[in-house]
């Protein structure tokens, strides 16, 4: 088990190295010179050159890459072109805000997904199955940013019940007023994981129920509840893998929903950075989000191996 974990961790090193190269290459490919975009054209050439020296933009590409990577590795993400504040400060604050959305959305989406999927499978080919399967396919087909807009139209504009924009607090929500800000974005974000997971759980449980060992369990007189336990245990590894992936998407793909709700999270930060051409913030955000995604995947793999020893290869 420890060997497997170690192997998984070691394997992440070349992947992350590749990620850093890819992000760096993308930034090099960006049209236009960063400094020319930042300073007005009437600024003397010396000042522009001085800026280039300060941000080390005058050195060869591979030296820039190594310098950039070694700074990243010690947690120095540089300084924002736009706000002049350390990128790390802005990024980790924003990541916290994203987590405040992603965690409840994940819990809601995963619970509903497993529940709907398992219920649909257990009531195979009844109206309940059809209803839940339809809910699931609608969940995966809805453009979630549009759902956000519709929810705002209904609950904020027409009914005037819930706030439409922003976070309204800092850190962790402590009062009903704070929670109100969370409701619409959390519901919006939970739709995709709900749909994706319930579809997988339904298919998995159906397949497991058709296997012979389930019949054996019933035959030897186990209660339905115990059979359910065995079924879920068999369905858990692949469902877990998908949950990990979906949680990664919630963190890394939050940009659309955060834009709809003006949520000051990592997606919102990325959006700002793109339009301000704030290269340090943008590159750091992408690298950090990808790293989190890789780490989540490792955690899921290890967890899967814990449940199912066959995975420890």
């Amino acid at each position: 088990m420890w060997g497997y974990t170690l192997r998984r961790l070691l394997y992440a090193v070349p992947v992350l190295l590749g990620v850093s190269m890819l992000v760096f290459a993308l930034i090099q490919l960006a049209p236009g010179d960063v400094v020319d975009i930042l300073v007005p054209p009437e600024v003397p050439k010396e000042i522009a050159d001085d800026l280039r020296r300060r941000f080390r933009l005058d050195e060869p590409v591979y030296i820039q890459y190594v310098a950039w990577l070694s700074r990243l590795l010690v947690g120095d993400f540089g300084i924002s072109f736009f706000t002049n504040r350390p990128v790390a400060e802005e990024l980790f604050g924003a990541l916290g805000n994203t987590l405040v959305l992603a965690l409840p959305a994940a819990v809601l989406g995963f619970l509903l997904g497993v529940l709907l999927g398992a219920l649909a499978a257990y009531n195979h080919d009844t109206w309940l199955d059809k209803l839940f399967s339809a809910t699931a396919i609608i969940g995966v087909s809805l453009p979630h940013y549009w759902v956000g807009i519709v929810l705002v139209a209904i609950f904020a504009v027409v009914l005037n019940m819930l706030p439409a924009q922003g976070m309204g607090f800092e850190g962790i929500p402590t009062s009903w007023e704070h929670v109100q800000h969370l409701i619409l974005p959390v519901v919006t974000l939970s739709l995709i994981p709900m749909g994706v997971i319930s579809r997988l759980v339904r298919a998995n449980v159906l397949e497991i129920l058709s296997q012979e060992f389930v019949g054996t369990l019933h035959a030897k007189g186990l209660m339905n509840r115990r059979v359910l336990y065995h079924t879920l245990k068999n369905a858990a590894p692949s469902a877990l893998a998908l949950m990990g992936l979906q949680f990664g998407y919630l963190l890394g793909g939050s940009i659309l929903v955060e834009t709809v709700f003006n949520w000051p999270g990592s997606g919102g930060l990325m959006n700002l950075a793109i339009f301000r051409r704030d290269v340090p913030v943008l590159s750091a955000t992408i690298v950090v989000l990808a790293t989190i995604f890789v780490v989540i995947n490792i955690l899921v793999d290890v967890l899967q191996a814990l449940i199912d020893p066959r995975m420890r290869r």
Binding site: P14, V15, L16, G18, V19, L22, V23, L26, I27, L29, A30, P31, I137, I138, V140, S141, L142, P143, H144, Y145, W146, V147, I149, V150, V152, A153, I154, V157, V158, G248, Y249, L251, G252, G253, I255, L256, T259, V260, M270, N271, A273, I274, F275, L282, I286, L289, A290, T291, F293, V294
Partner: protein, 300 residues
């Protein structure tokens, strides 16, 4: 022979029965599809949608690009503009019909390109194995380190907005999953007995790949690719919604949502309309993909 193996069920008795019926794999796929009312209906909707988008002038009265300050943000049900008008007074129905051109283009082309490139690389990796496999799959792992939305946003965000960059970004985002699926189905098929038999009887690698491998992996890969179209349509419109996709004044569903967002407080339902098109289209592609998967008896 190769076709029969694709649908070869685990149960030998069922396989025998099917073989005795004397029908080819594709004949049976067609029969199953013919009985599937939902999938047929969905394909019908998609065909109508495609026709509307291609022959947009026949389905619309107003020009999608000319507006009038006097007709701004008319509500749904306004005579002459039954679905209302947008923030500069352009007819919303016209824009939704014309908008489908870019939305469908940006939703389908990336998947098609990813299918070609990713399918080729994946089958190659699965068929050759060894070093080639490792090289291709390790590079795929790097792209897999990004959630697909993040990768697409990173590429368009850095390289700039526009239809070309949107298609490029989405193609790159969809190549890794296509490679993974193609590689895994090819590896499975490669170790089947009939491939060994072909090799033992002296078939060249290219012949084996063309006749024995490709015929058996194309179905699953195609079905998987159709399931990506729905995601791609949502993401393409999402990029435009962020201002990273198609640029104004083009009509495109995501961009329309973006532009109308400011009008949300004035006429909330008109502002939400373009999303209905994204939803219907992605739902139809999802249902079609499910139907195809069942008809072709594919398990991924």
């Amino acid at each position: 022979m190769a076709d029969a193996a694709a649908a070869l069920p685990a149960d030998p008795a069922v396989a025998l029965k099917r073989a005795q019926q004397g029908k080819s794999y594709w004949q049976r796929v067609w029969e199953r599809l013919r009985d599937d009312k939902v999938t047929l209906a969905v394909i019908g909707v998609l065909v109508v949608l495609l026709a509307m988008v291609v022959f947009a002038p026949w389905f619309t009265v107003h020009d999608p690009y000319t507006g009038s300050a006097l007709r701004r943000l008319k509500p749904i049900g306004t005579p002459g503009h039954w679905l209302g008008t947008d923030e500069v007074g352009r007819d919303l129905w016209s824009r939704m019909v014309y908008g489908g051109r870019l939305s469908l283009l940006a939703g389908v082309v990336p998947v098609f390109l990813a299918l070609l490139i990713g399918g080729f690389l994946g089958v190659l990796a699965g068929f050759t194995g060894g070093l080639v496999n490792s090289a291709i799959m390790r590079l795929t792992d790097v792209l897999y380190a990004f959630p697909s939305i993040l990768l697409a946003i990173a590429i368009t965000g850095i390289l700039g907005a526009g239809l070309q960059n949107t298609i490029l970004a989405l193609t790159i985002s969809f190549i890794p999953p296509v490679i993974r699926i193609s590689e895994s189905v090819t590896t499975q098929v490669r170790h089947l007995d009939f491939v060994e038999a072909a090799r033992a009887s002296g078939a060249r690698p290219l012949t084996i790949m063309r006749y024995h491998i490709l015929n058996n992996v194309l179905g699953p890969i195609l079905v998987y690719a159709t399931s990506l179209i729905s995601i791609c349509i949502i993401l393409a419109a999402g990029l435009s919604f962020l201002g990273l996709g198609v640029t104004p004044p083009s009509a495109e569903w995501g961009l329309m949502l973006n532009n109308l967002r400011q009008a949300l407080w004035v006429s909330p339902f008109v502002a939400a309309l373009p999303g209905v098109m994204i939803f219907i289209t992605s739902m139809c592609f999802n249902l079609m993909s499910d139907g195809l998967r069942q008809a072709m008896d594919v398990r991924l």
